[in-house]
Subunit: 316 residues, 2 copies
Amino acid sequence: MPARSDDTSILCVGSVALDSVETPFGKAERVLGGSAVYFSAAATLFHPVQVVGVVGDDYPLSDLDFLADRGADLSGIERREGASFFWAGRYHFDLSSRDTLETRLGVFADFEPKIPASFRRARYVFLGNIDPVLQHDVLDQVESPEVVACDTMNYWIEASRDALVDLLARVRILIINDEEVRQLAGEPNLLKAARWVQAHGPELVVVKKGEHGAMLFGDDWLFFVPGFPLEAVFDPTGAGDAFAGGFVGYLARAGSLAPDDLRRAMVYGSVMGSYAVEEFSVRRLIDLSQADIQRRLVQFREITAFETHVGQFAGR
Amino acid sequence: MPARSDDTSILCVGSVALDSVETPFGKAERVLGGSAVYFSAAATLFHPVQVVGVVGDDYPLSDLDFLADRGADLSGIERREGASFFWAGRYHFDLSSRDTLETRLGVFADFEPKIPASFRRARYVFLGNIDPVLQHDVLDQVESPEVVACDTMNYWIEASRDALVDLLARVRILIINDEEVRQLAGEPNLLKAARWVQAHGPELVVVKKGEHGAMLFGDDWLFFVPGFPLEAVFDPTGAGDAFAGGFVGYLARAGSLAPDDLRRAMVYGSVMGSYAVEEFSVRRLIDLSQADIQRRLVQFREITAFETHVGQFAGR
């Protein structure tokens, strides 16, 4: 794919971090991490991305060359004196829970997203999981995006609830996990929680359920994709951002939010999430080929497709 | 459907109980319950069933007339002096967990399944969740069933493990929930746990995941069906047995274990499980029409189907 950055690119704003991760299978020290990195590693396999973030002077920026090579414009990553955002965590035996060992915000503590002039006409915007106040700032700087997709987390739902609820009115697609949407809506039933969100702005709600898959809630329809059954999940970090990258990346490529495209986008998101967890950091996404992506898309179809044969009992 | 009971019927052995259930939405006292009842209430919508179980002299047998009306042969339900199996439970607010308030085995404590002569040539057998030793006894009494499907629970995995593992060699389809299969196989990964089961006998493993759906593991393929998104789950009791009823009922009706039929059977199982939870006891299944079943089957297809459009990026 030729590198390019223009109005049709996806603008992605989020964290650009270093992660130290321990799982039952091994350990990786100070590897590429952060929502903007996982998102872009997945999305650039579908469509060009413009990345906005901040790193310290310790960041191995050349490790992001693979993103530039496939169409990411990294000129919006500000480099400042100080330490990059650093997160260290340890996953438990079954990988479904983890302990945070250390979080050092570094230069990310004062992050004020500055959207370069050439990025401001982006038609697709992905707001990674950062303070909703900053997500507002980003939208204030872009002209008239067609599609704003937004992630968040339990911390902001508690600490910055008003800004987050206000933000929803500016967002077309909320991407959130099942616990978070229940918390945000104050409603344990997912259908009702999604409807609560829709009443506050977004016409589309994507609910990520980890190994249990993901659901898309449209106006009067919904779509479900399972988690891809893997024999070994190596490192779950970033799966949700990789999902968002595949999802938004495909939509931008298709240039459409038609239900058929949204369904495929959900599956492409799941494809990217499933690959992301096969190795530490974004490693599995670096060399991933279009053939790998298409192969797993077909596998998703094989594990979910059935013929209804309605009427086969007629007359019996 | 004309009532009939012959070699092509499904033989179902399990509990025939009375349940008192409390949920956040209401309360039902001494209503129809038990694995054989839920199974039959679902399966008879697809195929005739022969039921074997035991009840006390307090059981409202006429409440089972709806089963006879649609093709169940209830002559294998033994009526003995004493109290019927009684279970009382209370579901928590989110319905995903419950407390057992009371269990009185009554006449079920000495249950020794006696398979009537006219049931012994059944080609399809469903072994409900009872002591694996009794499940062996049932199989000793039937001639040469083509398809034996079997359910179990954590209690038997602990208390009667050897008999259960021996039983697996006589079972073609194990129907079990996700926690149970992990416990049985001693393996947290579902793919590996299913393979462990298959190495011990069953060629097919159905893993029920409650609201997260169900998976079927075949020899070198698998299939996934989501839980049906319901706005209100009224009473989760018996959902797994209703699933098994739809699953085995459809297979017996189709007379085939071809992958396409197994896939549809998984969806019919999910249809029945999803209806079962909409009311207390088996109430929702009593008046359920074939049109209701087909309508929800189509809804399952709508929430899972997507077109791969592989090749749409070719040349870009």
